[in-house]
Point group: C2
Chain length 143, copies 2
DNA sequence: AGAATAAAAGTACTTAATTACTTTTAATAG
DNA sequence: CTATTAAAAGTAATTAAGTACTTTTATTCT
């Protein structure tokens, strides 16, 4: 469903959002180590997200990436849209080019039903929600 | 969700299954032209499917690919499993490695709900079902 | 049997996705 | 104001997915 890059993006954002202080900054090295991904990959992804104002970045010593309280209220779909593109949830399940609601393929409606559950999930659940189990630590999720 | 190769596979099988006669054989050229895909790609895919006995092939003149009445009763998932692999529907929606039903991530249950609608669809709908609108022709679907 | 046909199979090429490396720029601390 | 730190940005290398080409093998028809 989601690309690997997008999954890494979500993990990195979860890590940032798991910080108690809204302005606590994390370096790429630290994040990459924790989520077990390549430093280079993580920095590329976080740069992209920062450009879209989904997270923030500060250069220089004591710099790093962080996410504000307000930004934590964004739905997860903002990450997905930025990394995987906006039409991930719009295509026919079988890739039939001429399938549409007015000319549906035999599985159109049922596929749509499933897809919409997932889409709604990404639209309504916020980044905050992903950090809920933070009391018991996030290691079991993204470590 | 499905890879492009897998979508092409499904289209090719729909084309085969749209033939009235169970033993009516179609050549790669004809199939590829109809579903608007590369001949080479289509033949690779069909060879794979034939090896898995999802469809059949006969060499030589008057040869080609075909699908029996019995094979048309197979669920679509057999194609998906063969082309995209068996664990397409088993992963966590966010790619969190340690997410599981006993240690679910915050969106685990809801994501699973959506995924299972789609999975069930592929498990229960047969190849036959995809050809139901055959009376009005398949052109609007795969042409 | 020999020629012709069409899939099988193996190989090579192309493109896109992912990962790695290098240089530049901004910010801070001494 | 210089050195250091860390992200930004651009480039290059790798990997995987998809597409193209070539040779082989089985089958049928003459």
């Amino acid at each position: 469903m989601l690309s690997n890059t997008c999954k890494t993006a979500i993990k990195a954002v979860i890590y940032l959002a798991s910080k108690d202080e809204s302005d606590e900054k994390s370096g790429v090295k630290e994040i990459a180590r924790y989520i077990n991904a390549s430093e280079h990959t993580v920095s590329k992804i976080l740069q992209t997200l920062a450009r879209q104002k989904i997270i923030n970045s500060i250069k220089g010593p004591t710099g790093g990436f962080y996410i504000t309280t307000k930004q934590r209220k964004q739905p997860i779909i903002t990450i997905v849209d930025t990394i995987d593109g906006k039409d991930l949830f719009d295509e026919c399940g079988l890739g039939l080019s001429k399938c549409s609601s007015s000319h549906p393929c035999p599985i159109h409606d049922e596929y749509k039903k499933g897809r919409e559950v997932i889409q709604k999930l990404f639209r309504t659940k916020t980044i905050n929600v992903l950090c809920e189990p933070v009391e018991s630590g996030l290691a079991y999720l993204i470590g």
